[in-house]
C-alpha cells in the first residue's frame, strides 16, 4: 500500500463547487478522503506534501490532442505529448484519430492505449475515426472500438460532407450510446481558406471563409442529431453565430455538447496581422466579438470542454508563407496558464475556468476522473494561479515548437502533477 497526503492546499473542485482550504488523502492511486478546512494532518507514517496554500484541482482532461504516432513521429510521439501533458498539469489526453494509418479499428485503439500506458506518464486514451481511413464514406467499426475503449468518434478536421454518411454514422452510433464529434465547417465555403472573411483578411490578401460556414454546417449536424438521437459534440465552436444556433437547439431540449479551443479564447484575428504562421489555425482566428462571445459562453457554462487543440507542426511546415503553412498550434503544456487568462483578464471565477477542463469533459466522456472525491483516481494538478511565466517554446516538451504563446507573459504555473497518485511533475 502506498499512501500520500497533500495538505494545506486551496482545493478547487468544479464538480462539487468547492473552492476553499483542504487536503486530499491518496491510497494506491485513488483518492480516499477529501478533507475541507485548513488543519488536516497526515495520518502516521503517510508521506505528506505541503501544498503551501497553492491550488489543488483535478488534473486537466484534454479531449483533443493530435500526435504523430503512428505515422509522423518526428512531429510528436505519444511520449513527447505525454511529457508535455504532465508538465502542463494535464492528466488525461484523448488522442485524435488523424494518424497514419488512422485510428479506425479496435486494434489501433488497443495499440494507442497500451503504448500510452507503458509510458507511465499520463492517461492516454483515444478517439476513434467515425469513418474508415477518415474517408467520410465508409462507417468505421464504432461498436468494436467502443468496446476497446474509444472515448468518442470523430473524423477530426475532416468534415463528413456526405450527409447520408453522417446520418448513418449517428444513427448507428446511437445503438452504442457512442459520442460523435464533428467540426462545424461547411467544406465548400472553407475550401482553401486560411482566415475569416472580413476587412482584415481582405487587406492581408488571404483566402477566407465567412463565419456563417460554421453555422451552416452546425444547423445540418443538429438537424441530424434531432433525427437520429445521437450523442453529439460540436468540436471547436468558434463563432458567435454558431453559439446562437447551439443555444437555440438546447432551448428546444436537444442535448448537444460543445468544445472550444484555448486558442480561440485567447487570440483573435488581429494576431495573424503580421502573417505569423503560428496563428494559422483551423478554424481560423475570429474577430474579437467572437472571442468575447466564446468567453461569455464559458462563463455561462455553455461550453462542456476547453481543449488545447494540440496540433504539432514542425518548423518546416510552419516556416512558409501564411497560406501555405500547416494549420494548428501546440497547446498541451500551456493549457492551464492560457486558460487562467480567463480568470485574470476576463474575470471568470476559477471554478468556471476549471470546470470545462476537468468535470466537464469527464462527464461528457464518462470518465471517473475530473473530481476531488473519495473513489476517484488521484489525478491532480497543483498550481500557483498568480505566478508569472514567460512562455519559451524551445523549452516545451513537445517535439514541435509551434506555440502561439511563445514569448507571451502569462500567469499560472504548474507546480505538481499526479497521475493515479504517482507524481509526474
Amino acid at each position: 500500500m502506498t499512501a500520500l497526503a497533500i495538505l494545506n492546499a486551496r482545493l478547487l473542485d468544479p464538480a462539487t463547487d468547492y473552492d476553499g482550504p483542504g487536503a486530499v488523502l491518496i491510497v494506491d492511486g485513488v483518492i480516499t478522503e477529501v478533507i475541507h478546512g485548513a488543519h488536516a494532518q497526515a495520518p502516521d507514517g503517510v508521506e505528506a506534501v505541503d501544498a503551501g496554500g497553492l491550488c489543488l484541482a483535478p488534473g486537466l482532461i484534454d479531449i483533443r490532442v493530435k500526435t504523430g504516432e503512428p505515422g509522423a513521429e518526428p512531429k510528436e510521439t505519444l511520449k513527447s505529448a505525454s511529457l508535455s501533458a504532465a508538465a502542463g498539469g494535464v492528466t488525461t489526453i484523448v488522442v485524435q484519430p488523424d494518424t497514419d494509418p488512422a485510428i479506425d479499428d479496435p486494434a489501433m485503439i488497443d495499440h494507442i492505449q497500451r503504448r500510452g500506458a507503458a509510458l507511465n506518464l499520463v492517461n492516454v486514451r483515444a478517439a476513434g475515426a467515425a469513418t474508415k481511413g477518415r474517408d467520410g464514406q465508409r462507417m468505421a467499426e464504432i461498436g468494436l472500438m467502443d468496446e476497446a475503449g474509444a472515448l468518442y468518434f470523430t473524423d477530426g478536421d475532416h468534415v463528413i460532407a456526405n450527409t447520408r454518411t453522417l446520418q448513418r454514422v449517428m444513427s448507428y452510433a446511437a445503438a452504442f450510446n457512442a459520442l460523435i464529434a464533428c467540426r462545424p465547417a461547411d467544406p465548400w465555403l472553407s475550401e482553401g481558406a486560411v482566415a475569416t472573411s472580413g476587412e482584415l483578411a481582405t487587406r492581408l490578401g488571404l483566402s477566407s471563409v465567412p463565419a456563417i460556414a460554421e453555422r451552416i454546417q452546425l444547423e445540418r449536424d443538429l438537424a441530424l442529431v434531432e433525427q437520429t438521437g445521437a450523442r453529439f459534440l460540436v468540436d471547436q465552436i468558434s463563432t458567435e453565430g454558431a453559439l446562437e444556433t447551439l443555444a437555440r437547439a438546447r432551448s428546444k431540449g436537444l442535448e448537444v455538447a460543445a468544445s472550444v479551443s484555448i486558442n480561440h479564447l485567447c487570440f483573435n484575428e488581429i494576431d495573424i496581422g503580421d502573417y505569423r504562421t503560428f496563428y494559422r489555425l483551423d478554424p481560423p482566428l475570429r474577430p474579437e466579438s467572437d472571442r468575447q462571445a466564446l468567453i461569455e459562453a464559458v462563463r455561462e457554462g455553455l461550453i462542456d470542454a476547453i481543449t488545447s487543440a494540440h496540433a504539432p507542426a514542425p518548423a518546416e511546415d510552419k516556416r512558409r508563407p501564411f497560406a501555405e503553412a500547416a494549420p494548428g498550434a501546440i497547446g498541451l503544456e500551456t493549457l492551464l496558464p492560457a486558460a487562467l487568462t480567463l480568470h485574470h483578464e476576463d474575470g471568470l471565477d476559477l471554478l468556471d475556468v476549471l470546470r470545462p477542463l476537468t468535470s466537464g469533459p469527464a462527464g461528457l466522456l464518462g470518465l471517473d476522473a475530473g473530481v476531488l472525491k473519495a473513489g476517484a483516481p488521484a489525478d491532480l494538478v497543483l498550481f500557483d494561479p498568480g505566478a508569472p511565466v514567460v512562455i519559451d517554446a524551445e523549452r516545451l516538451h513537445s517535439k514541435s515548437k509551434n506555440s502561439p504563446f511563445d514569448g507571451r507573459r502569462l500567469q499560472g504555473k504548474v507546480v505538481g502533477t499526479w497521475v493515479g497518485g504517482a507524481r509526474r511533475k
Binding site: M139, E141, L144, A175, T228
Partner: protein, 326 residues
Amino acid sequence: MTQPDVTDLIHERLEPFPRDHFLSAGDLNAATVPPLLDLADAFVDFNRQSAKSLDIMRGRTVMNLFFESSTRTSASFEIAAKRLGADVTALSPRTSSVTKGETLIDTAATLNAMKPDVLVVRHGASGAAALLSQKVGCAVVNAGDGRHEHPTQALLDLLSLRRAFGDVGGLTIAICGDIAHSRVARSNVALLSMMGARVRLIGPPTLVPGDADRWGCEVFHDMKDGLQGVDVVMMLRLQLERMEGALVPSTREYFRFWGLDREKLSWARPGAKVMHPGPMNRGVEIDSEVADDLTVSLIQDQVEMGVAARMAVLAALSARREGASA
C-alpha cells in the same frame, strides 16, 4: 397414414383461396389462415411418402418468372407445382437492356397471351407483383418483390412454428437483422401479428426503419434486451452489399453485436427455436454452431415446409379459378 387417406384429406381440406392473387400477407386473415395451414399440414404428410404425385392441377400451367436469381424459392415452387400435377415453365428474364417498367409490362402481356394459370413472380422492385397482377388474366403469386413482401415465406414460417409450438398465439418472436431491406420481415410481421404472436424487431438502427415501432412491434437495437424471454429467434440474411461501411461497418462487427451465437441465444427463453429464411451467411448473422444444432434450429424444417405451404397456396388458387369458371 397410407396414400389414399392423405389424398382424401387433401381433397377434404382444399378450399378456394380467399383472393384471386397472393401478393401480400394481407390477402389472408385470421380466419383464412388456419384452413390453409391445415391443408399444408396434409401436404407435409403427403410429401413424406415415396410417391408424391397428385392431379389437383393436372393440365394447368404454372409459370415461374424470376427476374431476380433464386435457387431455393424457384425450386420450391417448381416442385410444389409438379407434385400437384401442373406443367411448369421457368423463366429468368434479364432486365439489363431495357428499363424495368417496360420489360415487366411487355413480359406480362407476352406471357398472358400464352394463357398460364398461375404466374409465380419474383422481382427486384417493390410492387412489381401487384403491377403484374393487374395486367394478366391468371393468378399471381408474389415470390418476393423488392423489399416489400414475400408472403409464401411468411406462410411457411408460420407453418413451421405451428408444428413446433402448436399455436403461435402468445408466442414472442424476435425478427433480427436487416429489417429495413427485408421483404421476409414485412410479410412475417404482418402474418405473425395477425395470428396473435408478439413480434419484436432487433437490429442496428441503420437496418431498422425509424418508424418500425408503428408496425405494432417492439424495436430493440441491443440483442440482449431484445432476446430476453423470446420463444423464437428469426434471423434475417444480411446482404453483402449492405456491409463494409455503408450501413454496417464490417461483418465482424455485425457478428459481434447481432450475429446469433450460443451466448446470444442463451438470452432467449430456454427451449427457444431458431429460424432463418436462407441462404445463410454463416459467421455473419448466424453461427454454424447454432444453425446446425437440430435441437434448436428449425431451418431445415422451414425448407421442407416451404414446398407444402406453396402446394397449399397453388392448390387453393387453382380451386378458386375452377370455382370461378364453373
